[in-house]
Symmetry: C2
Subunit: 405 residues, 2 copies
Amino acid sequence: MANINTNYLKLPGSYLFTEIARRVADYSAQHPDKKLIRLGIGDVTQPLPAAVTAAMHAAVDEMASAKGFHGYGPEQGYDFLRSAIEAHDYRARGMDIRADEIFVSDGAKSDCGNIGDIFAQDNVVAVCDPVYPVYVDTNAMAGRAGDYDAQSGKWSNLVYMPCVAGNGFAPEIPRGKVDLIYLCFPNNPTGSVATRDQLKAWVDYANRVGAVILYDSAYEAFITNPDVPHSIFEIAGARTCAIEFRSFSKTAGFTGTRCAYTVVPKDLERGGASLNSLWNRRQCTKFNGVPYVVQRGAEAVYSPEGRAQVRETIAFYLNNAKVIRDGLQSAGLIVSGGTDSPYVWAHTPDGMDSWGFFDHLLQKANVVTTPGAGFGPSGEGYIRFTAFGGADDTAEAVERVKAVL
Amino acid sequence: MANINTNYLKLPGSYLFTEIARRVADYSAQHPDKKLIRLGIGDVTQPLPAAVTAAMHAAVDEMASAKGFHGYGPEQGYDFLRSAIEAHDYRARGMDIRADEIFVSDGAKSDCGNIGDIFAQDNVVAVCDPVYPVYVDTNAMAGRAGDYDAQSGKWSNLVYMPCVAGNGFAPEIPRGKVDLIYLCFPNNPTGSVATRDQLKAWVDYANRVGAVILYDSAYEAFITNPDVPHSIFEIAGARTCAIEFRSFSKTAGFTGTRCAYTVVPKDLERGGASLNSLWNRRQCTKFNGVPYVVQRGAEAVYSPEGRAQVRETIAFYLNNAKVIRDGLQSAGLIVSGGTDSPYVWAHTPDGMDSWGFFDHLLQKANVVTTPGAGFGPSGEGYIRFTAFGGADDTAEAVERVKAVL
């Protein structure tokens, strides 16, 4: 008799965005006349940059001829893309990251989940609270989270690092021992950023205790403050303690086009083994690379035209963030994030709980948000707005929200 | 201190195709003037069907406009593609498989590897010998294979089912208990197929003992014999014991375009849990779907033009298989496969071992093949030729091989 992985049975209910989709679908079915504005799930809405679609068209044409056809590519990604990433995202910013430390993939979600494959089950995992649910759920599936307690909303074996208004949404270094530490800056969901000094403290801690930092910088393109680091590898010592996840999803509108990358430095060793080698083995064995057409599209993100187009789109979304932030503040809500991030994190008013405020905004303002509690117990009392909508929709949504506060 | 997954350290040397690539690169570096013909790795060479590239161009154009833009898609795949698969690959052949049992993914390699996530570590795994190495290596990584013995080339906890000339390359049902059974027909690497009666025996066995059959039918498009089943779901009872992996890679030239799918019937339960639900949860948590542009390309495989173009390409490759098969036989080699499969499986001559014959053909005939021993101990004494080359190259390769036998 085949036995299932019973850790799956411990997972509570649905994945957050599935639950939101369900509530929205139910409401829409009952009120088909209402025009919803979605500032909930962090999905982009602006088209792919013209430089990207031009490159994809050219690549599709290549695939249509025997001479230009590309079959299996390198599991790690084509050199043309890895080299472009090295040059523009790392060397141009003074970081010593080489192409063979960069693994191109189909998504930061996949990589954040799959990275657990190369680690033992007995590692102690620390996560921010609130947190992107994928870190928690994938560790629960792998048996690292222990058991879920519905009352506290916590897993027995995870170390939670609260990120709340009281500590400026900055996780504090755990007192007890931890082995794997998920950090995400600019943060999803709080929109907070980490300073160089804060990251230095994490790197020093990880090197001291032998922990590995799993650093998600999927939103680095939204950083406007020149003092905020874009990468963990801007911090001295990170090459011996950190893995970084990056994505084209939010940078260049690739949420439906699927391309990301993970950086595993060759200096990163644990138990005498190179984590770069382990991850390479994992990817070569369980993955077959990203579509050629998509990699050519991603390469075009780094062309002069592509970079200009990306800057324009990011500026567009950051303006939305400002509209949300300013509008909510003018209505009396306490907000953070939204300056170096596409996410605005707002306190719920009048002691409402997150899902209550979510339902209120859905039903009264017909605006879809994301309840903070869906990201962890310390997200209770907050709600997330995203800046990825259209400009008119965003402005209208803010007016509607103000009207029902 | 973070601990690594030490199962990775047990993996012997390189993944087969990495080792082949290394030997070929070494030879090419020493003999840059030699023109190699590659009949080794199972990679296609014919361009994408015109219907597919037309659909991809149209989809890229959609992604270039705010109105046509697609962000995150359903993790399980778009309904348009799942419905096309249901209609053409299953209902048209009389099988009762529904769209919500079909999970679109980036590759059968990914799915064959990732499927282990939903099963416990203590399952006993049976594999054919020789076998596609991904089944073995991914179970070794997950701790199901035990320890590797270099002398026998076997893992201590795997059950090996020899597929050799003596049993017509058909695995026999194990005497001892097994829980997960990987079957692949048309087979990679031997090119053999399974009859309806043989599959019925497997399905009956699996239902009796509660095992789950992991059925890889990535090569079903090459079946020409009307009596050979294309899917495990043609067999009564399979809905309660089988998961099927399919791919557009070999069918429609998608090795560099990346689209596949896995069928998990809703009737398949173990330990009171629905495997369809578990796989859905796995995919929703650790995967973000296949690029919209690629799914539109895959959908076009089922259009009247797409189907005609695919048939033409498959016929082209099958003719190559016939050229290889006939040529090797005329030179006195004993061969099998190559009629309902793109793979021709040949005995090595004069008691040569697989890698010896591989090196001989590389160095004397400048033809790249795949050594049978790379697929498992019972592959020793065989070598694999693939029919995925060009027609002229294939004919020339066969002549070169004949000249050095």
